[in-house]
C-alpha cells in the first residue's frame, strides 16, 4: 500500500538544570529516574493542550541502563510521571547521542504513521553511573586491533583529534572554551536559558547527618564558570596525555541532567492546537574511526546536507555539542566556519553548561528552538554531536517561526 511520510515537528522541550557529578553535586542524592520524571511532568504542564493519553511513546535514553537508570527507563518514567498506563515507553542508547536518537527514532515512527505524538529525551546521572561503569569490553577489540586502545577513553580520542589537525592548538581550544563560558553567561543574563529549565527538588541528607542541609531546589545549571579567564584555562593540567592539549577547561565536564521534548506529527499538532516550533527535515548518523570519534559530526552533516541539496551556507544556526573544543573546531574547520561565527552555539554550549551524556541531544534542540524564535529570518538549523565508539549524528531542522 503506497503511503506518504508525515511531517514531524518539535513542539516543546524542557530540561533539568545540569549539575556537577559527584558527592558534592546538586543531584548527588537525587535519583536519575526522578529527574526525567520532573521533565516529563513539566512538558505536560506546559502543554495542557496535549492529552496525556495521546502520547504514543515515551523514549528515554541513558548510556548506563542499570540502577536508577534501569528498568526500561522510558516505561518506568512514564508510570512514575503519572501518564496513563496505556502509554508505552522504552529505553534507548547511543551514548552521547541517546536523546538525539530518541528524537529521531520516535520521529521515524511518527513519519511512518505508527505514532502521533511522542515524548523523547534522555537522562544521565554520571555521579551515580560514572562513564564506563559496569562495561565489559570484549577482548577482541584489542586482540584483533578492531579499535585503537585509546578509542575507549574519550579524552584520548580528543587528543588524537589534535594530532590529526595540528592547526587546532591548545590556545585555540582554550579560547573557544572561554567564549562558550562567556556566551552562556550572556544568555543567562538575558534570560534565554531559564525558561526551559524545570526546577527540581534536591535533598542533601547523606553528606553526614550533621552536615546535611535538607531539601533545596535546583533552579540553574551548576557547571558554568562565568568568571574563568584565558590564563586560568591555560594553567589547567592535561590529564589524558603529558603535555597534551585537552583539559577540564576545554572539554565538557562530568554531569547529571535530564532532558525531554514533545515530538509530533505536524497535522496532529495542528489538530490538538500544539504550538510547533520547528520541523524535522532529515537526520543522519555516521560512523568514523572510534579513536577520532570527535570527527563524527562531519560525515553525518555532509550526508544530511547532500541529501537535501543544501550547503552549509544555507544553515543559519548550528547547535553543536561541545564534548571537546577540539571536536567543535575540527567541525568548523571542515566547513570553513570561523571559530567565533555567530551562527554556532550562540548561547554557548556543553563546555560551560555540561554534558550529561545521553541527555545532551535534546538540550541542543531546546536551545535551537528558542534561537529560531528569536531569529525568524533563519530558515534552517542543525543539531549535531559526536558519539563515543566513533559516530556522529546530525538533525536538520526548519524554523517554523519564519
Amino acid at each position: 500500500m503506497p503511503r506518504t511520510a508525515r511531517d514531524v515537528v518539535f513542539v516543546d522541550g524542557v530540561r533539568t538544570p545540569f549539575g556537577k557529578a559527584g558527592p558534592k553535586g546538586l543531584y548527588a542524592e537525587t535519583r536519575a529516574d526522578d529527574m526525567i520524571v520532573s521533565v516529563i511532568r513539566e512538558l505536560l504542564r506546559r502543554n495542557p493542550a496535549l492529552p496525556p493519553e495521546r502520547i504514543g511513546e515515551v523514549a528515554v535514553a541513558a548510556t548506563t541502563q542499570t540502577g536508577d537508570q534501569g528498568l526500561t527507563i522510558g516505561r518506568s518514567a512514564a508510570i512514575l510521571a503519572g501518564l496513563p498506563k496505556s502509554v508505552p515507553g522504552y529505553a534507548i542508547d547511543r551514548m552521547c547521542a541517546g536523546a538525539m536518537t530518541a528524537v529521531t527514532t520516535t520521529a521515524g515512527s511518527i513519519a511512518l504513521g505508527a505514532t502521533d505524538v511522542a515524548v523523547a529525551g534522555g537522562v544521565e546521572h554520571m555521579g551515580h553511573h560514572p562513564m564506563g561503569s559496569g562495561v565489559d569490553p570484549n577482548p577482541r577489540f584489542v586482540a584483533e586491533r578492531l579499535v585503537d586502545p585509546s578509542a575507549l577513553s574519550m579524552g584520548a580520542t580528543a587528543e588524537n583529534l589534535h594530532d590529526r589537525f595540528p592547526a587546532i592548538t591548545r590556545a585555540r581550544a582554550d579560547a573557544y572554551a572561554l567564549a562558550s563560558q562567556r556566551k552562556v553567561a550572556a544568555a543567562y543574563a538575558a534570560g534565554q536559558i531559564q525558561p526551559d529549565l524545570v526546577p527540581v527538588a534536591i535533598r542533601s541528607a547523606e553528606a553526614g547527618y550533621t552536615g546535611s542541609m535538607g531539601w533545596g531546589l535546583a533552579t540553574a545549571d551548576e557547571p558554568p564558570r562565568p568568571d574563568t579567564t584565558i590564563e586560568a584555562l591555560a594553567g589547567l593540567k592535561t590529564p589524558f596525555r603529558p603535555h597534551g592539549r585537552v583539559t577540564a577547561g576545554n572539554s565538557a565536564g562530568l554531569n547529571d541532567g535530564a532532558t525531554g521534548c514533545v515530538i509530533a506529527a505536524q497535522d496532529v499538532a495542528a489538530e490538538l492546537g500544539l504550538d510547533a516550533r520547528m520541523r524535522l527535515i532529515d537526520f543522519s548518523f555516521a560512523g568514523v574511526d572510534p579513536e577520532v570519534m570527535g570527527i563524527g559530526p562531519v560525515p553525518a552533516t555532509e550526508a544530511v546536507l547532500a541529501r537535501n541539496d543544501l550547503t552549509i551556507d544555507d544553515i543559519g544556526l548550528i547547535e553543536v555539542n561541545e564534548a571537546f573544543a577540539v571536536q567543535v573546531l575540527a567541525f568548523l574547520d571542515h566547513f570553513k566556519i570561523a571559530d567565533d561565527d555567530p551562527r554556532v552555539n550562540p548561547w554557548g554550549g556543553a563546555i560551560a553548561l555540561g554534558h550529561p551524556l545521553a541527555s545532551s541531544g535534546v538540550r541542543l534542540m531546546i536551545q535551537l528552538a528558542r534561537e529560531f524564535a528569536e531569529r525568524p529570518a533563519v530558515r534552517y538549523g542543525l543539531t549535531t554531536m559526536c558519539v563515543g565508539l566513533g559516530m556522529g549524528g546530525t538533525v536538520l531542522w526548519e524554523n517554523l517561526h519564519a
Binding site: V200, S204, M213, G214, G216
Partner: protein, 706 residues
Amino acid sequence: MLENLPDRSDHGLDESVITSLFPEEVVTRALVRDVELPDGAGTMALITLDNGFDHTRPSTFGPAGLISLRDALDTVAGRTTPEAGEQRVVAVGVTGKPFIFAVGADLTGAALIRSRDEALTIARLGHSVFRRFGELSIPSFAFVNGAALGGGLELALHCSYRTISSGVPAVAFPECFLGLLPGWGGTYLLPHLIGPAKALKLIVENPLSQNRMLRGPDAFSLGIADAMFEPADFLAESLRWAARVLTGSETVTRVSPDEEWDSAVGGARFFADGKLHGAAPAVYRAIDLVAAARGRTRDEGFAAEDEGLADLLLSDELHAGLYAFDLTQKRARKAAGAPDKSLARPVTKVGVVGAGLMAAQIALLFARRLEVPVVLTDLDQARLDAGVGHVKAEIAKLASRGRISADAAARLTGLVSGSLTKDAFADADFVIEAVFEETSVKQQVFAEVEEVVRPDCVLATNTSSLSVTEMAAGLAHPERVVGFHFFNPVAMMPLVEVVRAARTDHPTLATALAVGKGLKKDCVLVKDSPAFVVNRLLTRFLGEVIASVDEGTGFEVAEHAPDPLGLPVTPFLLLQLVGPAVALHVAETLHAAYPDRFAVSPKLRALVEAGKTAVYGPDSEVDESVAAILAGGDRPSSAEQVRERALEALAEEIRLMLDEGVVSAPEDIDLCMILGAGWPFHLGGITPYLDHTGIAEKVTGTRFRL
C-alpha cells in the same frame, strides 16, 4: 534586624532542665537551606525537619528538637529586613524528610514528665517555637509532604500558608485518642481556619473513631491546605506556588469557616458522651478549648492550651493511653512467650470444618489474607452451598465496592471451594473447625480430619470456651492441636487468642502465630483454660451486673452502672451482641470450672428459655417481655455498688488468671481487652485503671503493675 527574636523570659525556660528530662530523645533537627525561588521571587529559608532516620522512624518533637527549630528560626528572623542585603530572605518554608512531615510530640518523652511545672514548660516551649511561624514579619509556608500528626499538623497551622501532597496518607490530631489534646495551637488555630465543626471532627470525632486519619485530598478539601500537588514533584511545585504567592501572581482564597460554634460544640459533646459518658477528661477539655477559642485572642487561647496540656500530661488517663498505645504498637506485633518463628511450617492450603456464618467469615479471611486455597466442609449440601455462597457473595461485594479489583475477586473466588467429605483436606496444612460448641462434636471432627491429613497438619479450633486439651485427647497427634480464637466480626476484630493446649508443640504454636500474622491479626498466647481471657473477663464482669439484676437492681441502673468507665457497649447490649444463648453457654462452662465465682443467672436462663435473642427492640427500646423477665428481686444495689462489685470481681479474676499462668503478664490481659473487647485506651485496657483507682490493691493486696 533583631525584630522577632523571642523574649525567652516569657516562659522562664531553662533549656538544660528541659532537655535533661529526656536524655534519650531522637532529635528532629531543623536543617536550614537557602532556596532561590523561581520567578525572581527572592530567597526562601527552607527548613527540613529530619531526625536522621528513614520513614520507618518518623520525625517527632521533643525538647531538643523544639530548640533546634527555635535556633533555626532565630537565624531566619535576623535576615528578614532589607538591611540583611544579600542575606535577606523573603519567606520561610518548612517541610519534612521523605514521606514524613512530622508526627507530633515525642510520646516517649511525654511519659517521662513528672511534675506540673515540667509539663507546663514543655507546653509553653512548643507554643513559643511554633507560634513564631505565624508571627514573623515575612510569610511562612508549610509544605506538608507526608504524614502530619499532632504537633506536626499544628506547626503547619501556625504558618501563613500550607500546601499538601495528594499522596499524604495521614493528617490527624490523634491526641484525644491517647488522652491528650492538640495543645500547641491546634484547638485554637484549626477552628479559626476551617470552622469549629470541621475542627472538632479532627480533634474529637476522628480520634474517637478508631483514631481515623485523613488523607491529603481530604485535608485539602476541608480547607486545611491552600493548595495540593501530586507527590511526584510536590516540593518543587510547592516552591513554585510559594513564589507565585509572594510575587502576587497567585491569590490564595480560603473558604470562610463555618460559624456555627454552638451547634458544633454541642454536637461534639453529644458524640463524646455517646462514646465515653464523661470518662476520659482529655476529650472534654479539648471541646471546652475549641468552644472558648471563639472569643479568645491568640495569647489567651495558647495560654489555655498550656494549662490543658499541663493538667493532662500528668493524668492517669494519658499514662494509661500511652501504655495502651505502646502495647498495641509493640507487644501486639510479637506475642509474649512465642516460640522461635523459624519453627513455623508453611501454610499453602487451609481447611475449614463447618459452613456456618462463623466458618464462612473465617474462610473469607484466610483466602483474602493468605491467598491460598480454602476448602469448607459440611455434612449437609444445602448448608455447604450456603456457606460457600456466602463467601463468594462477600467477595463480589468487596469487588463492587471497589475494595478489590475484578482480577483479585476472580482469584479469591477461585480459591474458595466446598466439599461434603473431608478428603479435600488431604493436602491441607492448617485445618480449623468452627462447628457446634460441644466437646464431643469437636473431638469427632478432629478424629475424622486426622484420618485424611498429614501428621504435621495443624488442627485448630475456634472454640470460645471449651478445653482444647480435651479436644485433642483422643488423637494420634495431639501435639498439633491449637486454639485459634477469633472475635466477632472476624474481619474487623484484631485479636486472635492462640491457645496452647497441654501437649501443643512449638512448631504448631509457631505455625499458628505465623498464620495469625499472615491474617494481619494480633495474637496473644494464652494457656488452655476455660474461656481464655476476653470471654472469661467479660463473662465475669457481665455476670456481676446480671447478678445484681437477679437480686433486684433495676435494669436501667445496672445497664448504666459502668457508664463512667467509657466502655464501648453497655452490659445488656453486649449480651445482645454476643447472643443470650452463647453468653449462657459460656457462663455455664465457667460455672462448671469455677462455681464459686461464676454464677448462672436464673434470669439469663429464663431469657434464653423464652427464646429471646435481643434485649433491645429495633427502636432501641427495651423489649417489654425482656424487661418483665429481668424484673423482680428484693436486694437492689445502686449503680455505684454495681460498678464497684463488677470492677472488684475483675481485679480478683485477673489476679487468679495471672497466678494460673493463663497469660504471662498483665500486659497480655490488657492487650486482649483492648483488641478483643474494644476496651478503651483511657483505662489502659483495664489493669492500669484497677491500679490507679486502688481497686487492685484493695482486692488483691497489690497492684498489677508496679
